[in-house]
Structures are given as structure tokens and as C-alpha cells.
Amino acid sequence: MLTLDGVSVAYGAVEVLHGVSLRVDEGEMVCLLGANGAGKSTTVRTISGLLRPSAGSITFLGERLDGRPAHAVLMRGIAQCPEGRRIFPEMTVRENLEMGAYVRGGEGARADDLERAFHHFPRLKEREAQLGGTLSGGEQQMLAIARALMSGPKLLLLDEPSLGLAPTMVGTVFRVIREIRRQGVTVLMVEQNASLALQMADRAYVMESGRIALGGQARDLLHNEDIRRAYLGG
């Protein structure tokens, strides 16, 4: 469904991604792991069009995506839930969701889209008129995911969904993600919580210094000594 082939990205003269190649097949959940600064977020931001690759290609459903602006990527069916949630703080829950449906056109989000969102995330229905900035961390993460889903994407990019959340909230969020997968949405997820991520994913890649260092089936990597060593140096 999504293929990155030899993608390199540079900030000015400094290259931060070197020839990254990976693929995500339809219906899969693929994880991107690695230490801070390894290039995971950069990769995701390049896919969603916020960054432009200096080399290589990104292909989605047969079409080239590299170099297209963010709103064009969204129209093709890739939605990103960025690191740190980034909900619009001065807009209500409902307005945030409406922003998610912005690409669908029309004056407001379609009523059935909103209904579906509230059905999956009942807590948000309770807070419909509340300003986004007043929600708790976990609620904001739900809102961010719901917002990304409002555009009806085929591929969902999740950047560190468990960041800064209390353990119980992390459980809830990941349950939601599993439910989304069951609905047939393909997911590419960047995560710090390696063990949890590997339990949910089909395949995973480990990044290091802007390159893909390891790749394989999730259950193989889960019991892999290299991962343990990389994360705890022991």
C-alpha cells in the first residue's frame, strides 16, 4: 500500500535520513521503533508531506507522494496523528473533529461522521462543547485519533500515542487502536513503548541514526536480544 524507497531527507546541508526503505501492506499494523533522534518522526513527517525528501520516492496506492504538500497527501487518504497530540487548544471538541473532516468539504462535518466518532469515543461526546486545551492528556489523545479518522483515511500514521500518558490511559488508547485496526484501517505507528507496540503489530522496523537497522515480524523482534540491548544497553 505504502512504499518508501531510498528516501533521504536533509535540513539544509545536513542529511538526517539516509536511504530509508520500508513498506506497509494493506490491513497491516507496522511499528517504527528506535531511540530519540533516530529519525522516526522525521520519516513520518516526510510521508505526510510536511517535509520533502531530497532523494528517493514515496509511493501510495500506486501514486507518487513525495514532494506533494500536506493537504494533498491527506486527500489521497493518509492522515497523521502527530507527536504530542497537537489538538487545537482554543477550539471545542466538536470543532476539532470538524477540522478533521475539513478535506471532505462542505460547511460542517457530515452528521453521520460525527455520530460514528462519538460512538467510538463516548467520552468525547460528554465533552463536546469543551475547549480542547482543557481536556486531560488521555482525552486529548482520543480526540487526536478521532480527528484523524474523520477524514476517512486508508492509512493512519500515529506518532508516539503513549507519550506522557499515565499507564491506565495508555491501555485505553491502545485498546482503541486495536479496535480501529479491526475496522480495517491500516496503521503505521511510531512508539517508545517497544514491548506494547510489538505485541500489537504485525511487523516492525528499528531505526538508528537515520537508517533502518532492523526489520521483521513483530513476534520475532519481541524476543530479540538486540532490541533489549539497544534499549537498556545490557
Partner: protein, 195 residues
Amino acid sequence: MLATVALSVIIQNAAILLWDPSPKTIKHVFSPVPLTLGPINVVSIRLFAGLVAVALIVGSHLLIQKTRIGRAMRATFQDTDMARLTGVDVDRVYMFTFAFGAALAGASGALLGAVFWVYPAMGDLAALKSFAVVIMGGLGNFLGAIVGGLLLGVSESLGAGYISSGYKDAIGFILIILLLLWRPQGLFGKKALPR
């Protein structure tokens, strides 16, 4: 910012070239005889201008709060990158916002010209006062601008009446200086956190 200063200089001076710099009046249908509403005497044209201004403010508020483009504007202001990720064409939003602002300025120019005079430099003082209003209300804060505008208008009139009419226009800036001494981020503005 300098580019817009340059633009305003160009437009002003082109206007001086095209039409002479002497003030002119706008012909309108309202009679110059003042209406009497209770204890207040007001000239019709001023009442009209005030009503139109209120209508424009309400209209702008509705546009910003209730429409799709208004949401896109607010989203772009609150988090530009995230707005891109929700499919907003940020460049188009900037263009629209600039045009919208220019349209409002044009409308207010027409109203001011009908109440007072029309001359090429009329925008200078109005622009300065609008700066004062924006600083008082905080950049990006629509409600703050309304409160600031009212505050400025009332203080100016009271000041002109009780102190001296020559310095009327300076009152706005005295207010700002006092405000900044008390709250460096404006009446409603938010303090920026260092990164």
C-alpha cells in the same frame, strides 16, 4: 512587515499623485440635522456609521467562529503545521485573511470618510490607533480587539472633553504605555514560554 509598510507608502503617494492631497467630502443621503434620542443628540450619519460598524463586527465574528474558512483561520493561527495536516491550504488562508482585513479597512475608511473627511493620509492615524487596540487586546484576540477599541474610543472622548482636545490622539498611546507597565503581554495576550 516592511513590505506592507512599503505598500502603504506606495498607495498613499499614488493617491496624492492621482488626486490632490486636499480633503474632500463624501455626499450622502442623511440629513445633517441631528436626531434627538432622549438626552442624546446624534447626527444621522454617525448613527448609521456606528450601526454599520456593529454589523461588520458581528458579521466578522460569525465568519470567524461559525464558518469553515473561519475555523481554518483559527486552526492556522493556533497550530500551523497541524492545520496543514488536517488539509488546510495555509497559503490560501493567509491570502484570504489579508484580503478580509483589507476589506474591513476599506469599509471603515468609507465610514470614517463619510463622518469626517477623505484625504490620502487619513489612514495613518487610524492605523496607529488600530495598533494600539491590537496591543491592548493581544495579537490574534478578536474579543480583545473589540474591548480595546471601545476602551480607546471612550477614553479619547472623555480625555478630549476633560483634558485637551489637541492631545486626544495621544491618549491611546498613553493607555498602552500604562498597560504595558502593568502587564507586558497585553490585556488578554498570553505569555510566551521560553523553549
